[in-house]
Amino acid sequence: MAASQREISISEFFAKNRHLLGFDNPKKALLTTIKEAVDNSMDACEEAGILPEILVEIMAIDGQDDRFKVAIQDNGPGIVKAQVPNIFGKLLYGSKFHSRRQSRGQQGIGISAAGLYAQMTTGKGPEIISRVKRKKAHHFVLQMDSTKNKPMITRDKELADWHLKHGTRFECTLEATYKRGKGSVDDYIKQTAVANPHASLTYLAPGMEEPMVYEAASKIVPERGEEIKPHPYGVELGELIKMLRQTNSRWLSGFLKEDFCRVGPKVAKSIIAEAGLSEKSYPSRIAREEADALHRAIQKAKISSPPTTCLSPIGEERILEGLQKETDADFYAVCTRPPSVYRGNPFQIEVGIAWAKPGDDHLDVDGDGKITKIKKKKRGTFDTENLLGNADDAIRILRFANRVPLLSQQASCGFTKAAISTSWKNYGLQQSKGSLPVGSAVILVHMASVWVPFTSEAKEAIAPYDEILKEVRLAMQEAGRKLGVHIRKGKKISSEFQKRNYIDAFLPHVGIGLQEILKLEPEVREDTVDMLRATLESTRKI
C-alpha cells in the first residue's frame, strides 16, 4: 500500500477538477479563457503605465462548430523571452500571489489553466507572441506536461517584424460554445469597458460584420497601488510563527515594526508588554506558547487601518464616465467609500447607480416654473447593448473585483446579498423582502483589494465577509440617498404637472355650477373662473 503513495502535480489536479477554475462547460470555458487573458493584459499595461489597447477576437473554425480560436492582444510592455513558457505553461506561477498589491490576477493559475484546457480539448497548446520595447518579437508554441506541471516549448522563433512595438498576443484553440446574452463574452467586454474607462477595447466575434470598438473615455492610467506589508490584524497564529522564523529582524520589537505595516514603536511596545514578552527577544526563539500570547496581544491592541496607498479604486468620476458611456440613463449617482479592512486586507468599495425614469416621457421645468413634457429617445432592446432593464424587472447588478466583471454566481455573491439587505424603498425604488429592488436601473459595485476573497477558484462571486457586506451596504446607501432625492424631486414635478392640468380641467365646472345656481351672465362666470385660477396658481410654486 505504501508503495502506491505518491505526489500529485497541481496541473493534474486541476485538469481533473477543471470546473474549479471556471471550465465547467464549453460556454464558460470560452468566457474564462478570454477573461483570464484580458485580465493579464490590463494588469500588464497598468503596471507599465500604458493606456491599455486590447484586441479580443473569437474566430470560428471551418467545419468544426464546437471549436473556436481566440486571440487576445495588448499593447503592454511585453514579456521577456525566458519567462514566457512559465507564465503561460505552468500553473501556480506568477508575480502576484505573494505581493500584497491590488491586481486583477492573483493566483498565477488563470492563463495557464486556459492553455491547459485548450490543450486537453483540442490537443493544441497555446501560442504566444510577445515583444519587449526595442527588442524583436518572439513567437512561442507551448505544450504542457501536466504530470510535471512544466511547459514544453514546441516552437520558439524570433519574428523579423511585428506590427506592435511592444505588447503580447495570446492565442489558443479550444472546445467552446459562443452565445450572446447575459453572462456571455459580449457582456463581459461591455462590462469591462464600464469599469475601465481608460481602456480601449476592440472586440470581434463570429456573426459581427465589423469589430465593436469601445473607445477609452479617460486618458489617465489608474495609479498603481503600492505593495504593502501585512497588517497585524490579518495574520493568523500559524503565519505569525512562520514570519517570526523567517524575519531578518534581530529583536521582537524590530520584527513587529519592520515586518508589519501600521506598527510604530509605541504600538510594538504595548503589544509586547501585553504578551508578557521582552522587546529584545530573538524572534526565531519565540516558542509556540509565546507566539500564541503575542497573537492574542495583537488582537487586543489598537492598530490603525492599513495604508490605502495599496488600493487603486476606479474613483467616482471614472465610474460616472463609465456608466454614462455605456448606459442611457436619466440619473447617475456614485460613491467611493473610504478604505476598510477584512482579515488584515485593505479593501475599498465603490458603488454607482444609473437610473432611468419609467415611461417614455420626461418633464422639464423652465426658469419660470413652467413644466413641459418631452418625449424620451428610444432605448435598444438587446440586453448586452442595454444594461438597463425594464421598469418592472429586478435591477441588474454589475459586480466588479479589481475592475474585473463577475458574470456568474450572482445569487451567492456577497454584493448581491448586500444589495438585497439594503432598504431601497427608502430611496424611492420598489423592493419586496428578500429580493433585489425593481426598476430600469443598474447598480455597479466594485471592490478594490489586495486580496479579493472569491468563493471559488473560478472567481465568480465574492465571499460574504461581514466587513465587506457592511461597506457595500454603506456605499449603496450613500448612492441610494442621492437617487432617492432625485426620484422624489421627479415625482414632485410630475405631480405638480398633473395638478396644474387638474385645475384647468375642473375650474370651469365650478363656474358652471355657480352660473346655474346664481343665473350668472357668461362673462361674469368667465371672470370668476379667471380670478380663481389666478388666486390658485399664485399659491403654487415649485
Binding site: K499, R500, F506, H509, V510, L514, I517, T535, L536, T539
Partner: protein, 402 residues
C-alpha cells in the same frame, strides 16, 4: 271608506276586546311642511353658491363647511336618547386637491335646486348618470357621487334640510309593514287621500316609501316589533301573529333604511307605541341594526335626531336567550369580523359604553364565542318562536335590554 273596511275586518277577527277609544291617530309629521322646507332649501343652495362667488371674486379661495360624519363626532346621552352631533366641522377649501370635488358639489347642488323647484327626484344612481353630461367633471364611479351627495346632505343639515328635501333617494328597498295599522297617503298627482290597511295585505305587505313625513296613521295596536329578516317576518305574518297579539310588524331587512327608521320613529312617537326589536344575536344585529335603529349612526350624525327610534328596546335574540332556549347547537362560531365589530362597539361606541347591561351582554357573547340567528328557534319546531319565544319574552318587556 277604506278605514271603515279595516275596522270591520279587524273587529270581526280580533280576539281581544276592542274599544273605539283605543284607536290612535296621527296626521302628517309636525316638522315644517314640505313646501316651506323646499323654499328654505332653494335659498340655502343659493346662499352657499353666492358665498363662494363673492369670496372668489375678492381674490380669496372659497370654502365650504360641513360636519364631520363619524362615530367620533357624536355624543350620546341617555336622556336625549340618540347620537347627537358633537359639532366638529370639516372645511373644504378650494385648492388643487379639492377642485374637482368642489366643482362636482356645486353642480349637484344645482341639480338639487332644479329638482326642488320641479318637485322631481333622483336616485343616487341617476344623479351619478346625470354627471355623464359634465365632460371632465363627470364621476367615474357611483362611490364618488355618493360621497359628494353625503357631503351636500351634511352641509345642508346645518339648516335642517335633509337629503329627502333635496330630492336625492337611495336605491334601497324600503321596509315592509303589516298589522293593525292604516297608513294615510295622498296621490302625488291628484292630492287625494289613499288609505292603506296594513291588516289587509293578504300574504303581501305594505312597503314603506322613501319619504314618510307626509303620511298619516291610524292604529289600534299595542306595540311594534321591528324584525331583522324577511323569513321571520313572513312566518309571523303568515300566522297572523300581529292580529293575535295586536301589534304592528316592521321588516327591516338588515340595517333599516332611513325611511324605515323615520317611519318607525313616527309610529313610536306620534302613536306612542313601544318598539321591540327582534334581530339575530350577533354583533351585526346588535351593533349595526339595533344601534342604528335606536340611536342612529355616526355617518348620519347630522340627521339622527329625526331618523332614529330612541324608545326602541331590544327583545332578542340575546346571548342569554341562547342559553335559556338551548340553542347552543344551532349557533355558528363568531367570525373574526364579528369579534372585531363587538370589540369596537365596547371600545368606541358611545351608546353601548353608556349601558352597563349592554357591555355585559356583548362580553357574554364574546365569551361564548358564538352567534345565533332568529331562525335558530326552528330547531325546536317551526312555530316555536310564535308559540313560546315571543310570548315568554314579551311578558317581561320591561326587562328588555336598553
Amino acid at each position: 271608506m277604506a278605514a271603515k273596511k279595516k275596522k270591520k275586518v279587524t273587529k270581526k277577527v280580533t280576539k281581544k276586546k276592542f274599544t273605539p277609544e283605543k284607536v290612535r291617530k296621527a296626521g302628517p309629521s309636525k316638522r315644517k311642511g314640505k313646501n316651506d322646507l323646499s323654499a328654505v332649501a332653494i335659498e340655502s343652495i343659493k346662499d352657499v353658491a353666492l358665498d363662494v362667488f363673492n369670496v372668489a371674486n375678492s381674490g380669496e379661495l372659497p370654502e365650504m363647511v360641513m360636519p364631520q360624519r363619524n362615530l367620533k363626532n357624536v355624543t350620546y346621552d341617555k336622556k336625549t336618547g340618540y347620537f347627537e352631533m358633537a359639532g366638529n366641522m370639516k372645511t373644504r377649501r378650494l385648492d388643487v386637491n379639492s377642485v374637482k370635488t368642489f366643482a362636482q358639489t356645486l353642480r349637484l347642488m344645482s341639480l338639487a335646486k332644479d329638482m326642488v323647484a320641479d318637485d322631481d327626484f333622483a336616485t343616487k344612481r341617476e344623479a351619478y348618470y346625470v354627471s355623464k353630461n359634465w365632460g371632465d367633471a363627470k364621476f367615474g364611479e357611483q362611490r364618488e357621487s355618493d360621497s359628494v351627495l353625503d357631503d351636500i346632505e351634511g352641509m345642508f343639515s346645518l339648516k335642517d334640510i335633509t337629503r329627502e328635501i333635496l330630492r336625492f333617494r337611495p336605491e334601497e328597498h324600503g321596509g315592509s309593514v303589516v298589522g293593525a295599522l292604516t297608513v294615510i297617503d295622498h296621490d302625488p298627482e291628484t292630492g287625494e287621500a289613499i288609505r292603506s290597511d296594513c291588516a289587509a295585505m293578504g300574504s303581501g305587505a305594505y312597503t314603506i316609501p322613501s319619504s314618510v313625513d307626509h303620511l298619516g296613521f291610524e292604529t289600534t295596536a299595542d306595540f311594534i316589533i321591528a324584525i331583522e329578516t324577511g323569513g321571520m317576518f313572513q312566518r309571523l305574518n303568515h300566522h297572523r301573529y300581529w292580529r293575535n297579539s295586536n301589534c304592528i310588524l316592521v321588516e327591516m331587512s338588515g340595517v333599516p333604511t332611513r325611511a324605515t327608521r323615520r317611519f318607525t320613529r313616527r309610529l313610536s312617537q306620534d302613536l306612542k307605541l313601544p318598539v321591540y326589536v327582534f334581530v339575530d344575536c350577533d354583533p351585526y344585529g346588535i351593533c349595526n341594526i339595533y344601534r342604528t335603529l335606536k340611536v342612529g349612526s355616526g355617518a348620519a350624525a347630522h340627521v339622527n335626531k329625526d331618523f332614529c327610534v330612541p324608545n326602541a328596546t331590544f327583545m332578542g335574540v340575546t346571548p342569554q336567550d341562547i342559553i335559556d332556549f338551548q340553542l347552543e347547537d344551532a349557533t355558528h362560531p363568531l367570525l373574526p369580523v364579528d369579534i372585531k365589530r363587538a370589540k369596537d362597539a365596547l371600545k368606541n361606541d358611545p351608546f353601548f359604553k353608556a349601558h352597563p347591561k349592554w357591555v355585559k351582554a356583548i362580553k357574554q357573547m364574546l365569551k361564548m364565542g358564538v352567534r345565533a340567528e332568529q331562525q335558530a328557534f326552528a330547531k325546536w319546531g317551526l312555530n316555536f318562536v310564535i308559540e313560546e319565544y315571543l310570548p315568554t319574552k314579551i311578558k317581561d318587556a320591561k326587562n328588555f335590554l336598553p
